[in-house]
Amino acid sequence: MLASVSSLVQTNKRLDTDANIDPRSFEFKKNKFGKPEILWQSDESSMEWPLHFNISHTSSLIACGIAMDTPIGIDVEEKKRKTVKSILSLARRYFTPSEVDYLAKISDSDAQQKEFIKLWTLKEAYVKALGRGFSGAPFNRFSIQLETNSRIQISKAAKVCNDSASGCDYLSENWRFALAELNSSYYMSVCIEDNSRGFENDSVPLGLKVWKTIPFIEDTLVSGTDAVKLIT
């Protein structure tokens, strides 16, 4: 696994830095919850901030998200992904009441299915960014608010947190999200920690760039084209 991860990370030299890093020198490890990470040497003087990455794949696509100095989570899913169970039954079992309400209000079943997939990828991206595993951030303990034309928000589900034995101590709310449509076929959610330190978050752009890659052969910048449509 680590060999294939490193091939994706190593082919990406798209870091706006004039640092002289040889990606082949990267070593990988897993954190105590099993999340793969780059083993960052503290005396790496040529680069000030550590690199973080996360990987997601669907049946026909692999995505690797890379960030400097912030943990990152990424999830991709086919937009038209059909579920065996009904959307609302899945939501009732795994999502929070407010998310169920949001989905239940959507009368068109295609639109409802798409919103479910968006919520699913956003929640997955958050859990993966946190890096504590699925059980470290159960889906029903945090809500994602998806209002059109405004920032995606995350909040702890107060009632569930108060009722549960372990509370929601590990769930933090200072995370930022990007949701995009790839090639009109996939939803991609990216989640990074919010380091804005109290500044008005909307004014700091995420600076998201997306490359389509054939590893070691060709990289094409696709963000800013029709291939990548930012939803928020």
């Binding site: 294939s4 994706l8 990406n12 099993g34 049946s59 699925f134 790839l182 990074i192 998201l208 490359w211």
Partner: protein, 152 residues
């Protein structure tokens, strides 16, 4: 200063080997599970015990607990339906969900189907640890008998 964030996307056809490798693999603990689903209890007796005298050595027990074959079969049925696997796909108890093509959404649907079928609730930490058909079946049987004492 904008946050620096890059996403690299690759078509899976080129990276099929990578994709298989990227799929999470949990260590399998079920080496003993190849034994078919019978509960085996063996107790060593000494010649003295057989002749009616009490053995002073405590008896040694070895107990194998694995899921019932019917549980394994039911799990296979549910997985086959969820992942829309054709009859030509050979399922084995040690088959890993990820190797059968399941992603996280498939896995939660499988867990939900198992909950409905067996009338159990699977907590997230348990759900996270089941990666093969056998592990799912073992967990189910554990949860199903959870409230009742083991047979004498």
């Amino acid at each position: 200063m904008a946050t620096q964030l890059s996403v690299v996307v690759s078509a899976k056809l080129v990276c099929t080997a990578a994709a298989a490798a990227v799929a999470a693999s949990a260590p399998s603990w079920n080496k003993g599970s190849r034994i078919s689903g019978r509960k085996l209890v063996s107790m060593r007796t000494t010649a003295m015990a057989r002749s009616g005298l009490v053995s002073l050595r405590p008896p040694r027990f070895r107990v194998f607990c694995v899921a019932k074959p019917e549980t394994v079969g039911k799990v296979m049925q549910i997985v086959q339906k969820q992942l829309a696997l054709g009859d030509d796909v050979k399922l084995a108890p040690e088959s890993k969900f990820t190797e059968l093509g399941a992603d996280s959404l498939d896995t939660v649907e499988i867990v939900m189907a198992l909950e409905e079928e067996f009338k159990i609730t699977v907590e997230e930490d348990n759900a996270q640890s089941i990666t093969t058909i056998q592990e799912a079946a073992d967990l189910i049987d554990k949860l199903v008998v959870g409230d009742s004492p083991p047979p004498a």
